[in-house]
Symmetry: C2
Subunit: 435 residues, 2 copies
Amino acid sequence: MAVTEPTADLLQRAQALRQAAARLALLADGDRAAAVEAMAAGLERQRDRILAANQADMDAAAADGLGQALLARLRLDAGKLEGAIAAVRQVAALPDPVGQRLLHVELAEALRLERVSVPLGVLGVIFEARPDAVIQIASLAIRSGNGAMLKGGREATRSCRAIIDALRDGLAGTAVADDCLVLLTGREESLAMLRLDGLVDLIIPRGSNSFVRFIQDNTRIPVLGHADGICHLYVDARVNVAEAVEIAIDSKTDYPAACNAIETLLLHRDSARAFLAAALPVFADKGVELRGDAAACALGVARAASEDDWGAEYADRILAVKLVADMDEALAHIRRYGSRHTDVICSSDTAAGERFLASVDSAGVYHNCSSRFADGFRYGFGAEVGISTQTLPPRGPVGLEGLVTYRYRLRGDGQTVEAVTSGRIGFIHRQLPLA
Amino acid sequence: MAVTEPTADLLQRAQALRQAAARLALLADGDRAAAVEAMAAGLERQRDRILAANQADMDAAAADGLGQALLARLRLDAGKLEGAIAAVRQVAALPDPVGQRLLHVELAEALRLERVSVPLGVLGVIFEARPDAVIQIASLAIRSGNGAMLKGGREATRSCRAIIDALRDGLAGTAVADDCLVLLTGREESLAMLRLDGLVDLIIPRGSNSFVRFIQDNTRIPVLGHADGICHLYVDARVNVAEAVEIAIDSKTDYPAACNAIETLLLHRDSARAFLAAALPVFADKGVELRGDAAACALGVARAASEDDWGAEYADRILAVKLVADMDEALAHIRRYGSRHTDVICSSDTAAGERFLASVDSAGVYHNCSSRFADGFRYGFGAEVGISTQTLPPRGPVGLEGLVTYRYRLRGDGQTVEAVTSGRIGFIHRQLPLA
């Protein structure tokens, strides 16, 4: 991949998009919700065109010899499209993230400060294959008052074009201008979007880990997402073994390719024998290959782990297993090898659970439940933009609230700082009601 | 300036700091507040040493021929130190930003999610001259449960060393390890801190605009701050001229070198004549040089502005003046040349004021008051880390809350996602009380 400088044409399109987004940001909640509903209707009207375009992309991709995994992600059949349209309607029904008053203070007599949530502006969305991601992100963007510039993989060009045409067709007649959704196609624009500092406010990459890392390394625009999902499950000394085995199996096998699946099992040496005795047959039954350190192998793990295993995101039915002397060793291992995504402790000792929850510096830290709960829908956010492993917010599963920022508004009747300095007016900093 | 790769020694120090910070993050509010109080006491005990060290830095800087502006910033006299110590005590007394529960939901029976504010981890502070910045940031860091790695300019080496020694001396006997404050000195470490991704969570630069921009351009770690402060004052068609003149004068002259001083005056053509008639003598009296477009010059502005003036941060008693046909033209000008810091409208038309507040995409947007109110103390935050012009939060003047992030904690009793999928348990997403 290469990042080129934006062409004059791209700059002009980005500026036009920014202006359209500025108008969108001023619309009322109802107008934005209705526009997202209309986008769903637009997709329904053009269902056949979209499916045909995707079939054409699939045929071309098969002829080009694309791998099965990529083909599976590229595929948009009637069922997937139906599900995507239903999700758009759910996004329309979500509570408005914009216009929330987060702070309200009277600084001095008749000088009132408020902090209000506002749209970010323009989202830059870059994805490999998966044309359904266009539908999801476009609806989240419009719902939250943001314009979106979307760039899909070359293999999905026909699908993306048909989807965007349908979404823009849906917007016709609503308060939202169809200029708020821009699709970049063609090689010439490449990844020049990454250079649109000041015109694009947030980059949302959707694709493989290496793809996301490449994006993070090649832009100054904030990136929402994560490269790695190296999640751990620590089985403490005092533990309900049957429950811990169930949680371990779910965390690994419910969907091994997911970022919130565990990659490493850390076993306290006092419970490791009992845990492995119960777990080994179940892992074998589920087709999970274990790779253990020497102590784990001595307890029946068949294959030896190498140093590389501790940092691997297998995204497959493989699990590294290591014995630890105590929780401190588990914490140190997670600090060293983890990706600050989601880490779990199984323990029947409440104090140990609380210590783990307080000590692990990941976006999600769980006690006695599966790592697979790390998900915006499961958290109750209604829709998910992605999961962020950055330290700064938004962090963890990010819903609509990750697509807004805030602004301070100050209303006065002529106040100057000189009047404060000279003592003619004084600060009072009185909290006012938010609602 | 050059950014070198971290040496093995720096990496080791950064890892040790990270571990010390992890322990600090677990301390209770009272322990952190007491530690900050003790830091103030440490500064008091070593007052004479600090002042002597600063005098030695000043003498060396004068001998090296440093400019007056830099010398003024380097200087730490008894009064400045007294003020800095009082500010440390104020930071100790601020409400705890850590451990606030921001979300609390029962996802399924006995499966409870909470979002809790936690320290960022380690702050990387890089500053030119100003040794008092060390005191301020170190106290904010410890109060919010963060470690800090500090790197001062070479000219302030003795001052910084004496200050850090005093702060660490203050920490002795408190619950906070003195390892939580690390001072980098010497050329060999240069700006290698910018490469400590994963070990440093936030970079806070303090210095000139070009210094901040260099930092922003040379690190993947998030940077809190802003390069430019190009603030505008728009005087609307319907306006209380006397009030608008007062606000303009205050916004420009209260402290011209501040980032929240205005650099450009946008005048609606219907009120420009009356405004300038009243304002020109006052600006002249205050020693402010005006640079106008042709229409402003026709109304008495003596000097013509060039294209460069619209994008200039003068940080001086100079103000660009431009006439606009309507608010749209003012908004377009701000969108094009502003730095999204703070912009002001003076208008006696409430609807116009609200339209400006809704339309300008800056961290602060004000109606009928001075741009100089953009400041953490004036906003009532008690202390200020800096002002951010980024789109994403934290934005605007940032208090202690900019030094924390959040983490999701999920507590269950054996829940798996498979149990949800198979219908054995169901999501309820019941909101629980925050307190």
